[in-house]
Structure formats: structure tokens, C-alpha cells
Amino acid sequence: MTKPTCEDTLVVKKRDLKNDYFSLVLAPFSGAKSIKPGQFVHIRLPSTEIYFRRAFSVASVNPVKKEVEIIFKVFGRGTKILGKMRKGDSLDLLGPLGVPFSFPNKKERAVIVAGGVGFPPLMFLAEKMIERGHNPKQIEFFYGGRSKTELVELSRLKKMGIKLHLSTDDGSAGTKGLVIGPVEKYLKKHLNEKLKLFGCGPEKMLKAVDELGLKYDIKGQLALEALMPCGVGICLGCVVPLKAGGFARVCCDGPVFEIGVVNIAC
């Protein structure tokens, strides 16, 4: 693990994606270049109203400019404040934290399953895979949300040349229904290939991906979320139960876990 650093950074770019989604680019962060997909930064909000930090997966980095991008949806008190930040405002960042995804072998086909606000680390994963020489056509990116407006950064994903499969609960874009349907269909068709699953999103979705992995004996990894008071492993507040018994800390034993390891609650 790389030593996390704690630094004041500036908002150098803010984009208002639609429907309460925002992208913030923060810089300079000296830890930027060492950040790997799946890792997160722990952000202190500039208000003592919110005492604890909030965790955000890194969505992209620019190692030269030492930039870190996060993409989030306004959800509660903390993300509300974050959504009001303006260019030039400063934010205290602690990171990089957590265990990243392991890159799949270049011959493997990556089946990526993103639910709602779980897509940023997976977009980062796909980007880095391509950078490392993975064929974009070997990346199947399933992206599901409640409705069309909940799917953001589509043009960015399309530009990557990956195979994008959209789905929405209400059918307003892509396949109608939960993302997991098209995923299972796809897996069944390609069981003879070397596949690797990657998932991040709501717990229900993660549980379903976990079950698919076990059912079809496909290895892979899931990025989990939890309430994280510290983010660095010292409070034991963020644990999830393991199937083998006992608990693991999402912040430092995860957030990325192998399929089949965590007992995902819903």
C-alpha cells in the first residue's frame, strides 16, 4: 500500500452533470499519481457541521497535473455541501486509501457491472485497462440506473471504445429492468470465454453479481461501500461480515473484495 497523504487541494474544475450529479477535479494532490482504480479519497468537508470525512472513489487522475477527479451524486448533508463547492474552493483530501482492483489478464474479457453512482471507479478501471493495452472491445460495461437521467458521462464512456450496455428500471434508456438481467444473459452466452467480473453499485446489485459469479464460477471483484468514520483502518466502524466468519474492514481490507468473500447484507 502507498502511504496515504493528507493535503489541502483546490477545486480546479467543476462540472454539473445532470440530475444532482457533479464532477470535481481537485489538485494539486501529491498522492495523485499513485492512485489505482478502486481506491478512494477521504474528504473533509469545509464545515464543522459535518465532523467526519466522506469517502469518494477516484474517477480519474491526471498524474502530471496532480489532479484527482471524483464524481458524486447529492445524497445527504455532506454531498450537498460538496455540490455547492466552486472553483477555487479548497478541500482537505486524505488518500489514496483502500485496496484497488486487480487488472484482469489482457486475454480475459472484463464484464463490468456499474449501478448508479457506483460507475466512477469502474470507468477509471476501464480507462486504465485500455492504457495498459487491454482491447476496449474486450470490456463489456453494463451500466444501470433508475432512469435515463441517472446515467451520466455516457459520451465519455462511449469515447473509450468499450462495449456499453445500458439499462434502466423504467426503460427510458437501454434495456428495461435491473442491470443484472442483461449481465446474466451475457454471461450465459460467453461461458466458454475467459471472463472476469467487476462490480460497484447498490448492495442489492452487488449481491446479485456475487451470486452470478458463484453460480457460473466466474472470478471477479466487487467494490463495496460502508459508513467510514476513519477510512484508514483504525476505528473498525466500516466492517462487513465475511462468509467465512468474522469481519473485514471495508476501508483497508477493501473496498475491493474478491467475489464470494463478503456476506453482503440487503
Partner: protein
């Protein structure tokens, strides 16, 4: 002229009065990745029990106004793994180590303390008496003067270096408990552990902690802890380690003025793992501004 941050408790000298609070810095490994532990007055370990404890299921924490509610359930590796896996690391750190000890019977306390007696790495032990006593229907050791005295006395017999009793705030008279600990042979007192609290989700009607009740910590409890430190300081001679809601050097000064010799930082580490370093800096600056030579000149100096 340089200012002196050193302080001494029961003969043990600390580089500065800032320690980490039990359960808020693990066994030091994670913090050591961020800065050398020699910056701390002491590292206080998570509570160590006889057997490994997985702890309570999640959710284990809730954010509250100015505080944190936690129900971790004393999750820890147990004394065996502590000695085998954690002590080798701690021995290499250039800081004092205080091992916090938990038990559900007096025998368990005694067993853990006697194992620690042979471990020179443990400069002191801190007895967490905010644990339910399984032999007495689950009442906390620390809510009964008699059990407090007995537990401390039993630990005293087997542990030869200084013993700190860590008191719980959920009592009618903390002074009475402090005196019982003194009677039992404690060398110092840590005041306070977390305050009992709870919270419930108004949508699901389920408590926000799997264990229902938890411990309230953080800035919210500072006034409560300060009053307890103040009360004990005036009625009991043992040195006091003040705990509760310390976020910056100003909080530390409040504790020292009310009679603490040193302090522990808990919840604030979650927000800023480097808080102790910033506090040390702030303390130095304050002492210079006030033209004080040593941090010990503040102890008990509140103007009543």
C-alpha cells in the same frame, strides 16, 4: 527558550502529554504508515481481551451532532495474537506503549495482565472497566465501586508496572469510583470512556446500531468529561489522563487547567489521523505566547 512538553505519570516519562485513545488507533500499525509514532506521548492500544473478539455486526457507527456513536463490541485479536503479531511491531516504535485491557470476569483481567507483565513493551496498562461483568448479570465493572476496587487490586497483584484505571462516565459519582480505583492500587486514572447513547432510523424504525446502544464520543461530550476530570482532581490525588472530545490544542489546555496531567485523543483521529502532531505544535505555540516553560505549569490552574 524552548518549551518543555514532557510529562510524567507514575514514574513513566512521556515525550508530550498527547496519547491516542484506546480503540481509536488500533495497534499503531495504520498510524505508523502516516507518521512516526515517536510523535506521540504514548500509543494506547485497542482493548485486549483474553480471547479474540470479532465484535458486533454492522452498523457499528452513527454520526451525531458533534459526536460519534459506536458499538464496535471490543473487537480485538486477543492476548495471544497481540503478543505474537502486534508486540514485535510495537517494540520497534520509539514511543511509550500503554496496553488497554478488557475482561468479562476478574479472572480474565488477571490472566491478560499477567501475560502483559512479561511483555516489557507494555510500559503501562490501562484497565477498561467499562465492560459488562458476566458473573454479575452484565453490570459494568466500572459502575460499582466494589468491583472497580477488586478488579484493580487483582490486576495490581500480577502487573508490576504502573496501572491506569479508565473510568466510565455513566455513574452517579465518578469521584467514588476514582477513590475505589485508588484504593485498589491504581497509579493513575483515565477519564472518561464513552457515554451511553443510541439513535434510531425513522424510516425503518430500526436502531442505527446493530447493538442498539453504543458509546457517544467526540466534541459533544467534552463538557461532560471536563466536569468529571475537574471533580476527580479536587477529591483524589492520582494523576489524571483527560479524554473526551479533544480535537485541537485548545481542548487539551482546558483539560490541563482542570487538572489532567496528560490527555488522549480518540474520535478526532478519525477525522485527522495527524491531529496529535497539530496539537503538539499548537501547545508549543501557546506555551511560548503565555511565557510558560513547561506544559506541567498548566495542570490544575483553573481560576476558581
Amino acid at each position: 527558550m524552548p518549551v518543555d512538553l514532557k510529562c510524567k505519570i507514575a514514574g513513566v516519562e512521556f515525550a508530550n502529554p498527547i496519547m491516542t485513545a484506546s480503540g481509536c488507533a488500533g495497534y499503531g500499525e495504520e498510524l505508523a504508515q502516516i507518521y512516526p509514532l515517536s510523535n506521540l506521548g504514548a500509543l494506547v492500544t485497542k482493548s485486549i481481551s483474553l480471547k479474540v473478539r470479532p465484535g458486533y455486526p454492522p452498523p457499528r457507527t452513527v454520526e451525531t451532532p458533534g459526536g460519534l456513536l459506536n458499538a464496535i463490541g471490543l473487537a480485538n485479536v486477543g492476548i495471544d495474537r497481540f503478543l505474537n503479531e502486534k508486540v514485535p511491531f510495537l517494540e520497534q516504535q520509539k514511543t511509550k506503549v500503554i496496553v488497554n485491557v478488557a475482561g468479562s470476569t476478574i479472572d480474565e483481567y488477571v490472566e491478560v495482565c499477567s501475560r502483559l507483565n512479561d511483555c516489557s513493551c507494555a510500559d503501562m496498562i490501562e484497565l477498561n472497566i467499562s465492560c459488562p461483568n458476566v458473573n454479575e448479570g452484565g453490570i459494568e465493572f466500572g459502575t460499582s465501586p466494589k468491583l472497580t476496587e477488586k478488579t484493580v487490586a487483582a490486576a495490581r497483584k500480577v502487573f508490576k508496572r504502573p496501572i491506569i484505571a479508565k473510568l466510565a462516565p455513566n455513574v452517579t459519582s465518578i469521584v467514588e469510583i476514582a477513590k475505589a480505583a485508588e484504593q485498589g492500587g491504581a497509579d493513575a486514572l483515565s477519564i472518561i470512556n464513552s457515554v451511553i447513547g443510541t439513535a434510531v432510523d425513522i424510516d425503518s424504525w430500526k436502531p442505527l446500531l446493530a447493538n442498539i446502544n453504543g458509546g457517544l464520543t467526540g466534541p459533544a461530550i467534552k463538557p461532560i468529561a471536563l466536569a468529571m476530570v475537574s471533580g476527580v482532581y479536587r477529591k483524589c490525588k492520582l494523576p489524571i489522563i483527560g479524554i473526551g472530545g479533544i480535537t485541537d490544542y485548545k481542548d487539551v489546555i482546558e483539560y490541563l487547567l482542570y487538572g489532567a496531567t496528560a490527555v488522549q485523543v480518540g474520535t478526532a483521529l478519525f477525522v485527522d489521523p495527524s491531529a496529535p502532531l497539530k496539537i503538539v505544535k499548537g501547545l508549543k505555540k501557546y506555551l511560548k505566547e503565555k511565557k510558560l516553560k513547561s506544559v506541567t505549569e498548566l495542570i490544575g490552574k483553573v481560576r476558581r
